[in-house]
Amino acid sequence: MAQMMLLITPELCTGCRLCEGACSFHHYRVIQPSRSRITVVKFEDRGLDVPVTCLQCDDAPCVAACPTSALWKDEESGLVVYEAERCIGCKSCITACPFGGVGWDAETNSILKCDWCGGDPQCARICPTGAIKWVRADQADDTKRRMVALRMQEVAQNLMAPKRAGV
């Protein structure tokens, strides 16, 4: 099976944070953004919203940093797997991750890291704008191109439309 990925397009994100609710609810049955494995970073003064989560790196710094092999790369699915039983809570992975994709859950003393919800990521499922999409990794560029092309088509259509008088 082809590897999948979460395709994140920040310019489509409106910052509603439904992804955070869906993520925490899926994992803990509580709506609790502080324990979500995806976080929308908001720059309110500029109107920017950026969903940040684990990118499941191929050559993952967190895997390299983990002294107990609690984190390891599953070559087949592409997921960086977290085994809580092996984790000693040293937080090296949080330090090592260049994206802030790994967090700390104070309630269970374990890390917060995306596990793709077992193959049906709830963040992508709930996202109302398409800012988070669950796509085949080898087709992600197609998806992105298509989104950009759609937007360009809209611009082109607007250019072709007759302008209202006086505007």
Partner: protein, 644 residues
């Protein structure tokens, strides 16, 4: 303590005079009888405030409340309520705002906050889960020297500075600006850079208490009683919004935001123009949704957990208005645009932005300036009064200048800061007839001459002329199917006819209860009011699954609670001395036929609807006081017979 879903189970009481803070359990009776949000506040303000309370005195209570659905996955449950006796109207006051502050308060583990007293010096309140403290805000507060007001950080500056002080950008902050500090009577509270709890001067109440801001960060989250069932309810709600109403939303609110209303409402001749003189403007497209989308919109935005996503940002490149701003809502486009005949939409963006920065309600502010411009037109105000400002219709520069002066109570701004009713009494000379208010609150962007039931809404709403209390969009947008399902096919013809007064009293009362329920749960008006997606059964199902309280699952029971809330809110005003005579409109709506546009020739036939409204609500038609039997039926028997 029994674990209830949806609620945090505790609340905060803050006495600013004593500098004390208490954490208390949310009373079960309060939950059972008043549900949350607006309901909580109605009960608390009924008990703790009375007709002798000075709205700007230490005895007034500021109640900031969430509901059982706040912060859950139910769509658009990201709002919170701010409630107090209003310094603008002297009666019931509340405002409601979106963004992210409300959910964060719930996540921190509190259903509501009651704030009383007055701090000795400016302070702000920090809530970080269990850590709650008052901090010095002197550096954020302005000062008065030689009768002039200096400094006072804007709402945006305050929010950012507090976040820096606390070392975390994710604190959600609700703050007042200079206008709140100066107790401008329609001062607002702004949270998350641009969400406003705007109406009835809640920011002035905060200012009178010397409370500059409330910062909150919460990690606890919200539990629901029946997670699987609740998620089913949420899925159904999503389906209703995205599938059943999906096409309608995609082409309106989601695409344009509320500016979409400008063209539509103008086409029915109901968009206030020139201080409510008429309801149609041939230049409406200049401030309309199409134009804003094509020329200025740069980004869509959203409140917490919303699928409608009506918020947006605009960019102006024209000096002196250049910048990126929260896009104005329909109401602000009217109050700074068509109401003043200001054609320059970029000036409207800027005025609306300044209203947010300084913390003022864009509706009351714009409509009070409209009063001044009409008084100017009739020669009742001159440059001597205005300090040299030329208040001719359409003067965008003067509007912007007056917005600034009002926040700082400078010159003529000190008169505008009192709101149209008081301002017209201060000036006198017959300018009273141009003050478009009901009960002291400026009339929002509807007109009862073009949409009869909106006149009834303005006349009867508890916080004064307001649309969100009970406005019907059935006739506004022609929702025949909804009208038939809810009220019966035989009534559809009248219900969707804006000029028919038949059944409208009953309709407005039904919606007053429905929106009281929405404001108690709390879910957004843009899925309950327009479009009319959720009705009593949907809300009952959601709140029962969230809380685990079986009785809430009965639509008749939640409707009874909603009625209790609406009636006790009315009793608050009755206690203040309001009676039937106060449920009225300015003469302009009752006696001056609409001069132009599609509704030309019509007046608002308020009397034809009022009796029906009172009858539907169980209110005495002579006095306007809820009947004894109504009070008893709602468990409010102890109030019976005390007010006539």
């Amino acid at each position: 303590m029994v674990e209830l879903g949806g609620y945090a189970g505790r609340y905060l009481r803050v006495d600013l005079s004593a500098g004390k803070i208490w954490v208390r359990e949310t009373p079960k009776e309060l939950i059972r009888n008043y549900l949350g949000g607006l309901g909580f506040a109605v009960k608390i303000l009924w008990d703790e405030v009375d007709e002798h309370t000075d709205p700007l005195g230490p005895d007034n209570r500021l109640v900031i409340s969430t509901g059982p659905l706040t912060g859950t996955m139910f769509p658009a449950a990201g709002r919170y309520q701010v409630n107090a006796k209003s310094p603008l109207t002297g009666i019931w006051g509340h405002a409601n705002a979106g963004g992210f502050f409300g959910p964060e308060l719930k996540f921190a583990g509190y259903d509501f906050i009651v704030i009383q007293g007055r701090a000795e010096r400016p302070i702000y309140l920090v809530i970080d889960d269990d850590l709650v403290e008052l901090r010095d805000a002197s550096h954020l507060w302005g000062e008065e020297r030689n009768g002039r007001f200096y400094g006072g950080k804007t709402t945006f500056e305050t929010i950012q500075m507090i976040r820096e002080e606390l070392g975390d950008e994710t604190f959600k902050v609700a703050a007042i600006g200079p206008a709140g500090e100066n107790t401008v009577r329609f001062a607002s509270i702004i949270n998350d850079l641009g969400n406003a709890a705007g109406r009835t001067g809640m920011g002035a109440v905060m200012g009178s208490k010397r409370l500059k801001a409330i910062a909150v960060r919460g990690s606890r989250g919200v539990r629901v009683a029946k997670p699987e069932l609740f998620m089913e309810v949420v899925d159904d709600a999503y389906r209703k919004l995205l599938v059943d109403w999906g096409d309608a939303l995609k082409e309106t609110l989601t695409k344009y935001g509320t500016p979409n209303l400008v063209e539509a409402i103008n086409a029915m001749g109901r968009m206030p123009v020139k201080n409510h003189w008429t309801g149609y403007w041939e230049k409406a497209h200049l401030i309309g949704g199409e134009r804003i989308r094509e020329e200025f919109r740069v980004k869509q935005a959203s409140c917490f957990g919303c699928l409608v996503q009506c918020k947006y940002l605009v960019r102006s490149r024209k000096e002196p208005y250049a910048g990126i701003y929260k896009g104005p809502e329909y109401e602000a486009l009217v109050s700074f645009g068509s109401s003043l005949l200001v054609e320059d939409v970029e000036a409207v963006f800027y005025a609306n932005h300044l209203a947010d920065l300084y913390g003022m309600d864009s509706i009351s502010l714009g409509m009070t300036i409209a009063w001044a411009m009409e008084s100017w037109e009739h020669g009742l105000l001159t440059k001597e009064d205005t300090g040299g400002l030329d208040l001719s219709w359409g003067n965008a520069e003067a509007m912007v200048e007056l917005v600034k002066k009002t926040a700082f109570r400078e010159g003529f701004g000190n008169v505008i800061a009192e709101g149209s009713k008081r301002a017209s009494e201060i000036v006198g000379r017959g300018t009273e007839r141009f003050a478009m208010h009901v009960k002291g609150n400026e009339i929002s962007a509807q007109d009862g001459r073009a949409h009869q039931s909106s006149g009834l809404t303005h006349a009867t709403a508890a916080r004064g002329a307001d649309h969100l209390t009970s406005l019907s969009c059935l006739e506004e947008r022609g929702y025949e199917q909804v009208a038939a399902e809810r009220y019966g096919a035989d009534k559809v013809k009248d219900l969707v006819d804006p000029q028919s007064t038949r059944y409208k009293g009953w309709l407005v009362w039904d919606l007053e209860m429905l929106y009281a329920l929405g404001n108690s749960l709390i879910i957004c008006w843009y899925e309950v009011g327009w479009p009319p997606v959720f009705y009593y059964p949907d809300m009952a199902r959601a709140v029962a699954a969230a809380t685990g309280i079986a009785e809430f699952g009965d639509p008749n029971e939640v409707k009874r609670i909603a009625k209790r809330i609406a009636i006790l809110r009315r009793m608050f005003n009755v206690r203040e001395g309001l009676r039937r005579k106060d449920d009225t409109l300015p003469e302009r709506f009752l006696k001056e036929p609409m001069p132009t546009g599609p509704a030309k020739g019509h007046v608002c036939r308020l009397d034809e609807m009022l009796d029906d409204y009172y009858e539907a609500a169980g209110i005495d038609k002579e006095t306007g006081v809820p009947k004894d039997e109504t009070l008893r039926e709602l468990g409010l028997g102890e109030l019976a017979g005390r007010w006539r």
